[in-house]
């Protein structure tokens, strides 16, 4: 049983279809990269999987011990966060929000979980710093730590490296890879097709035609030819 399976999804806003015929499956431990042009509906797909709004048609099923709402999420950056006065610790801790159930305050175990994720992502020295004063790469790591507080079963990353310099981008990819090796299922949107082919186990290409399959099949397919422009011969 797959952790996440989507069948014949049609995505869109207010009944208007942005993209349809999307079917794919994600199993525990997979590393799925979603690629496609700007505006092809990648972020929309992410938000639909997260249940922020319903799909126009088709179905999304969770299984293999993964429940709806048990997904960590790293959003494409929003404006509101740019001048938000909050410390790193407060933000990471807010990832535990779903664990509160009826209690108004965080318990010791939730604080420990936040501390653990902060340490895991190497944020110890920044713990009490203000979020808006961090560099883009540091901010992404904070949001990743928050996502991991919500769950470490599956994380969704929407362009986690956009705006980062090559060094930090590498660091970020390595970090994500190590999380994946430790058992977290990763679904990542990326424009960086080279990285996608380097790290992913599966590829979902959305556009006028939709491709889903393993990386190997993708490289053999028509889709990769136009999109990868000659870097198809990595590996």
């Amino acid at each position: 049983m797959a952790q996440l399976s989507c069948k014949n999804l049609a995505l869109g806003y207010d009944g208007k279809i942005v993209r349809d015929n999307i079917s794919f499956e994600v199993n525990s431990g997979d590393y799925l990269c979603i690629v496609g042009e700007n505006g092809s509906g990648k972020s929309t797909l992410m938000k639909t999987i997260l249940g922020l709004f319903p799909p126009i048609s088709g179905e999304i099923k969770f299984g293999d011990g993964l429940k709806d709402k048990e997904i960590g999420y790293l959003p494409q950056q929003t404006d509101i966060q740019k001048d938000f006065p909050a410390s790193v610790n407060e933000i990471v801790l807010s990832g535990c929000i779903s664990k509160l159930s009826f209690s108004p305050f965080y318990s010791k175990s939730e604080k420990e979980l936040a501390d653990y994720q902060i340490a895991r992502l190497g944020l110890n020295s920044l713990k009490n710093r203000c979020y808006r004063e961090l560099s883009g790469g540091q901010q992404q790591r904070v949001l990743l730590a928050r996502a991991l507080c919500a769950t470490d079963k599956m994380i969704l990353l929407d362009e986690p490296v956009s705006g980062l310099d090559p060094m930090i981008t590498m660091e970020m990819y390595n970090l994500i890879e190590s999380l994946n090796k430790e058992g977290t299922t990763v679904i990542m949107v990326s424009h960086d097709i080279e990285a996608a082919l380097n790290y992913a186990s599966h590829i979902l290409h959305i556009g006028d035609n939709v491709f889903f399959g393993t990386k190997k099949d993708y490289l053999k397919s028509e889709f990769s030819k136009a999109f990868t422009k000659g870097i198809g011969d990595i590996q």
Partner: protein, 283 residues
């Protein structure tokens, strides 16, 4: 100096001064704690719109000859807060226009009603007092004071109990929704609290100046402090301090209470701005 203290003690003998101080402190506290959320969620304009709605509500209550116009005003404002929030959520621009329409509309209708059903001899004085709160804080009845205390306790209690959720929803609505927090519900609660705060604050500063009371302390605190908790705590403390100073100044100097408080808030903002620039901010 001793003369000043004597005079102060003399003033405290009057119940209306004590009422004004109690209510002033509570209102300042309530209006500031949600300030950060409102500023960051771009809700400050909703607050502004609602204060005009509250004016309309009050006009209706006074036309209907209610002895205490707060409950009806409160009902009216809460309903509009919910309507505006629901309509403004999906379409940003439409929401803006809706707010402008509702707020200017209720201001006009309110004034019209007061004019047509003019019950008191001093209409412009009454209107001025509702808009700028010039005297209402000094003419509180014990019932109004109890109501204020009750509502303030409600606002502060809800805020403390929902603090962590309000933080999560304000910082990143999508994330909290995705992990199973009912963000719409909390937005709904926030809307109700704003409405309550606005109706409360109308007594203190009048409906035109409410936004100042909500926004200034939060913006001041954001100049200096860098975590959500410290910003919230500092803006509450600052707001209470400014209100106390404003009320006392107004009582002694005979200036209008609302605008004096706002003037003090502005000075505090300038000081915080300077402190933030000089020290580059502490945590």
């Amino acid at each position: 100096m001793s003369e000043f203290i004597n005079k102060a003690i003399e003033y405290f003998e009057y119940p209306f001064v004590r009422y004004a101080l109690i209510v002033g402190v509570l209102i300042a506290l309530c209006s500031s704690i949600l300030g950060v959320t409102l500023v960051l969620k771009r809700f400050s304009f909703i607050g502004d719109g609602l204060s005009h709605v509250a004016f309309g509500g009050m006009a209706i209550a006074s036309v209907l000859n209610f002895t205490n116009d707060m409950p009806l005003t409160l009902l009216f404002t809460v309903i509009f807060a919910i309507v505006l929030l629901m309509s403004g959520k999906n379409a940003k621009i439409k929401g803006d226009a809706a707010i402008a329409m509702v707020s200017v509309g209720s201001l006009a209708i309110g004034y019209l009603l007061l004019n047509i059903f003019n019950t008191s001899g001093n209409l412009s004085g009454d209107v001025c007092s509702t808009l700028f709160g010039s005297t209402s804080i000094l003419t509180l009845t014990p019932t109004e004071v109890y109501l204020c205390v009750g509502l303030s306790v409600f606002v502060v209690a809800v805020f403390i109990l929902l603090y962590n959720r309000i933080f999560a929803v304000t910082f990143d609505e999508d994330f909290s929704k995705a992990t199973g927090t009912n963000a719409d519900f909390y937005n709904f609660i926030i809307a109700i609290i704003i409405a309550v705060i606005i109706v409360l604050a109308m007594n203190l500063v009048g409906s035109l100046l409410i936004s100042a009371l909500v926004i200034f302390p939060a913006l001041s605190a954001m100049r200096i402090f860098k975590s959500f908790k410290s910003v919230t705590v500092f803006s509450a403390v600052l707001s209470v301090f400014c209100s106390l100073l404003g009320i006392l100044t107004a009582v002694f100097a005979g200036t209008p209470v609302g605008s004096t408080i706002v003037a003090v808030d502005i000075v505090a903002f300038i000081i915080c701005f300077a402190v933030g620039k000089v020290f580059g901010g502490k945590r």
